[in-house]
């Protein structure tokens, strides 16, 4: 930050202004916002100028872009069906395309699809763009799409979205540029589902993923799992102009401070997902800034309703009251979080129920609830791990609040290795970490439906299940929202999942890197940044 004319103005606030502008705030709205925050009109103008410049600068062509994510392993893959780490998403996004994509406002746009139509939300017709070619020169046809989507249904492939893809009972090519998808039941969200990273389109018959033959803006030049990848611009890209960058190098530095240091020393242009505690360091150096996205990622405390002590009436309610959300937001996330109300739909979503207020921190109420449940004074084990972001810190805060009312929470820190298979969904009280999903339907079917594969608290409600099906087939937004609103209230009050805050993702970058915008699918522009960013000379 070189421009320090406003005291206490950090690039976090810059990001907030940019976010507000994207959400459609007018200049007057923003200036009013500044006045409320004690920023003078003149200074406010400067900030606005900077924010609009960031949004409207002209792209520069060329350059070699180096970026570092945080997760790498030898399991790195170029197979979109198996992608599970953020590094995989970034790589896949640069070499493949999806049928649709979500822009920064959460609206569905067409990418490889030219149009997606349905009359009953059950049978969908997808027209493909013509003239799209794969890196090897082959033209995109309906057969490629059918092949790509069918892979998710093949259990031997091990697709990460098998459970979502299962609703597609028939996928067939009608003509060379038309695909018809029949769903098991009506689902108005199909275009959004197809914008998920796993549903990228590969060429028919591809089985070897040591390199990638996609339609994307970049071609693979080097791919070494767990080490690095280098992509070069695809000159035959179907979108006009193509990528701005000549080449794009991506690798992972798992150590947080090492990642930040690599950025500050000029070795990389972008350090993805840095810890809130590193922000002060990045801001203290000139030539670097931050890109913040709040997209619905959260770490939650799961109390299973079918095991003690979660099965005792009042216990879950008590813990929800005992979570000091403001302190978690301030201390654990350093302000880079939005307070949540124990349900998984984030404020970014159009379906967010704004009426549902977060529970206030109320130790006295918690104490009386625990007393009623006969649990006060007992030692309650809570499983936490580095694997679930910030869970150890949250557990420590809960423990401390508990100590003040005579409730003993016994934190059991367990290894990150094997956490997801050994403790998550298993231990009576444990932490989970859920990545953003584009629709309420996906979140609820994945996490709260009676038969949900990840029913974290074993929440079972017939009413909830039927509302889920009803909303899925409802094409009218307002009616859908009413249903989802009520479902959010149900989850918040009845389920054993305490969701204290939505964590923001902060990417630190060199100021030379331009064009990076927030995206509801996650940091680094929903992992698709490579195609859109450019380097200023």
């Amino acid at each position: 930050m070189t421009n320090k004319s406003v005291t206490n103005w950090t690039s976090r606030d810059d990001a907030m202004v940019e976010n507000a502008m994207r959400r459609g705030a007018t200049r007057r709205d923003l200036l009013r916002m500044f006045m409320a925050g004690g920023v003078s009109l003149a200074a406010g103008g400067t900030i606005l100028g900077r924010a609009s410049a960031a949004l409207a600068a002209t792209p520069v062509r060329g350059g070699h872009f180096k970026a570092a994510g945080w997760s790498a392993s030898t399991a790195d893959t170029l197979d979109p069906a198996k992608a599970s780490l953020s590094t995989d998403y970034v790589r896949c996004c640069s070499v493949y395309n999806r049928l649709t994509f979500l822009d920064e406002t959460g609206t569905v746009n067409m990418e490889l699809a030219d149009s997606i139509d349905t009359s009953d939300a059950k049978v969908w017709t997808i027209k493909l763009k013509s003239g799209v070619t794969f890196h090897n020169g082959k033209s995109l046809t309906a057969a490629d799409v059918v092949y790509s989507l069918n892979r998710h249904l093949d259990e031997n492939i091990g697709s990460k979205v098998n459970s979502i893809a299962k609703q597609m009972v028939e996928i067939k090519a009608v003509d060379p540029l038309t695909v018809q998808i029949t769903l098991v039941a009506a689902n108005a969200d199909l275009p959004t589902i197809l914008s998920m990273h796993h549903f990228m389109i590969i060429a028919e018959g591809t089985t070897d993923f040591s390199t990638a033959n996609g339609t994307g803006a970049f071609k693979v030049e080097v791919f070494e799992p767990g080490v690095k990848s280098i992509m070069v611009r695809n000159e035959n890209y179907f979108k006009s102009g193509g990528a701005h960058l000549d080449s794009f190098e991506y690798f992972a530095i798992s150590d947080d401070s090492a990642r930040v240091n690599a950025l500050l020393s000029g070795d990389i242009h972008l350090a993805a997902s840095i810890k809130p505690q590193s922000i002060r360091l990045v801001e203290s150096q000139s030539g670097f800034d931050l890109s913040t996205t709040t997209s619905g990622n959260y770490t939650n405390l799961n109390m299973r309703l079918d095991m003690s002590p979660g099965d005792k009436a009042g216990f879950i309610e008590g813990v929800k009251c005992l979570l000091n959300r403001e302190l978690i937001q301030k201390s654990v996330a350093r302000g880079l979080a939005e307070i949540a109300n124990d349900q998984p739909i984030s404020p970014m979503s159009p379906y967010y129920n704004a009426e549902l207020k977060p529970r206030a921190y109320d130790p006295e109420k918690a104490k009386s609830l625990f007393e009623k449940a006969g649990l006060l004074g007992q030692s309650i084990p809570v499983v936490a791990s580095e694997a679930a972001t910030s869970s150890i810190e949250m557990a420590t805060l809960l423990q401390q609040s508990g100590a003040e009312i005579g409730m003993k929470f016994d934190i059991q820190r367990v290894p990150s290795d094997g956490y997801w298979s050994n403790y998550w969904l298993v231990a009576p009280i444990h932490f989970g970490n859920i990545n953003p999903r584009p629709t309420p339907d996906i979140l609820f079917s994945l996490l709260y439906d009676t038969n949900a594969p990840w029913n974290e608290s074993q929440y079972k409600s017939k009413k909830f299940d039927s509302m889920l099906v009803e909303a899925r087939g409802e094409l009218d937004f307002a009616k859908r929202k009413t249903i989802y609103d009520e479902m959010q209230v149900m989850v918040s009050n009845e389920a054993g999942t305490a969701i204290p805050v939505f964590l923001s993702n902060v990417d630190a970058k060199s100021s030379k890197l331009q064009g990076l915008k927030a995206n509801p699918l996650g940091g680094q522009m929903g992992y698709a940044m490579a195609e859109y960013v450019w380097l200023e000379a």
Binding site: L281, L327, S331, T396, Q399, Q412, R413, P415
Partner: protein
């Protein structure tokens, strides 16, 4: 030239008693200080170790927070007092375990020789070559996580090193004439080990113990990460450094103070060993 060595070879009367020099006394005082802190430290701490007392992070030293605040805004002074118990206690227990078993086995192997020697050496080599992270994970999986498990694990990890070192020393001593004479006298293995070998390798073994202590103090933080032993909100000093490493660019006391604590403990343990009264350290002189 000669006077340089006369100190060692021609003991002056002072060296017959348990005399210790100033450095040794200072080091001993420091070690005692930390031992006392380990016992009564938690009673002295101004705040509970898990409580967030500062809304700022990596806060500076102040009259209320003597050593500043950590990455969550917790009081570092209280956390160091609490961590002393784990760092001093666990490391000391583990290093004693490792050195005792390593040295005893090493001397036995050297004196007895033959198949016992070969067998023990191979077994411990095999043990040593398993990466400690893998080993730690397997231990947690097999018997769960607790402080005694952590101590045994650290002990087991460092036993082969102590064994190899002690054996290498003992093998050399074992070829000495006086050992051969003792053996010819028909002394039993226990006697040979305790009376002939041990006194002659005490110096290097103690020096080795001092270093091993340092390694264990540091390895502790790595194993805590695997979820072994020390559970939040408590933490050993190494973990305190690790969790606050982000404060290094700001010179935050949150990262420097635990480092100083580790250094003061490990350096004084080593200085104490180096300056032990000659009579204890080196009975051969």
């Amino acid at each position: 030239m000669a006077p340089m060595f006369s100190k060692g070879f021609l003991p002056t009367p002072r060296h017959f008693g348990y005399h210790m020099n100033t450095v040794g006394i200072c080091a001993a005082a420091m070690v005692c200080f930390w031992a006392v802190v380990a016992v009564i430290g938690p009673m002295l701490s101004p705040y509970p170790p898990g409580e967030i007392v500062d809304f700022d992070y990596y806060g500076p030293m102040s009259s209320t927070l003597w050593m500043g605040s950590d990455y969550l805004g917790r009081d570092i002074f209280s956390r160091i007092l609490m961590g002393a118990r784990y760092t001093v206690g666990i490391s000391l227990a583990a290093v004693c375990l490792a050195c005792f078993s390593g040295v005893v086995l090493g001397m036995t192997a050297a004196v007895v020789g033959g198949w016992l020697d070969t067998g023990l050496s191979r077994l411990l080599d095999a043990l040593n070559s398993i990466p400690s992270k893998l080993f730690g994970l397997v231990m947690v999986a097999a018997i769960g996580s607790s402080i005694p498990v952590l101590i045994v694990l650290l002990g087991v990890i460092y036993t082969p090193g102590a064994f190899r070192f002690a054996r290498a020393l003992a093998v050399n001593i074992n070829t000495m004439d006086y050992v051969t004479v003792a053996r010819a006298r028909g002394e039993r293995t226990g006697y040979l080990i305790a009376q002939e070998i041990l006194p002659n390798i005490t110096g290097p073994v103690l020096a080795d113990l001092g270093l091993r202590f340092v390694f264990i103090v540091l390895l502790l933080s790595g194993l805590s990460f695997l979820g072994l032993g020390v559970q939040p909100p408590n933490a050993d000093w190494g973990s305190l450094v690790r969790e606050n490493i982000g404060g290094l660019p700001f010179g935050a006391p949150a990262v420097l103070m635990p480092c100083l604590a580790i250094a003061s403990l490990t350096i004084s343990v080593n200085l104490l060993i180096d300056n032990l009264p000659v009579k204890i350290r080196d009975r051969s002189e």
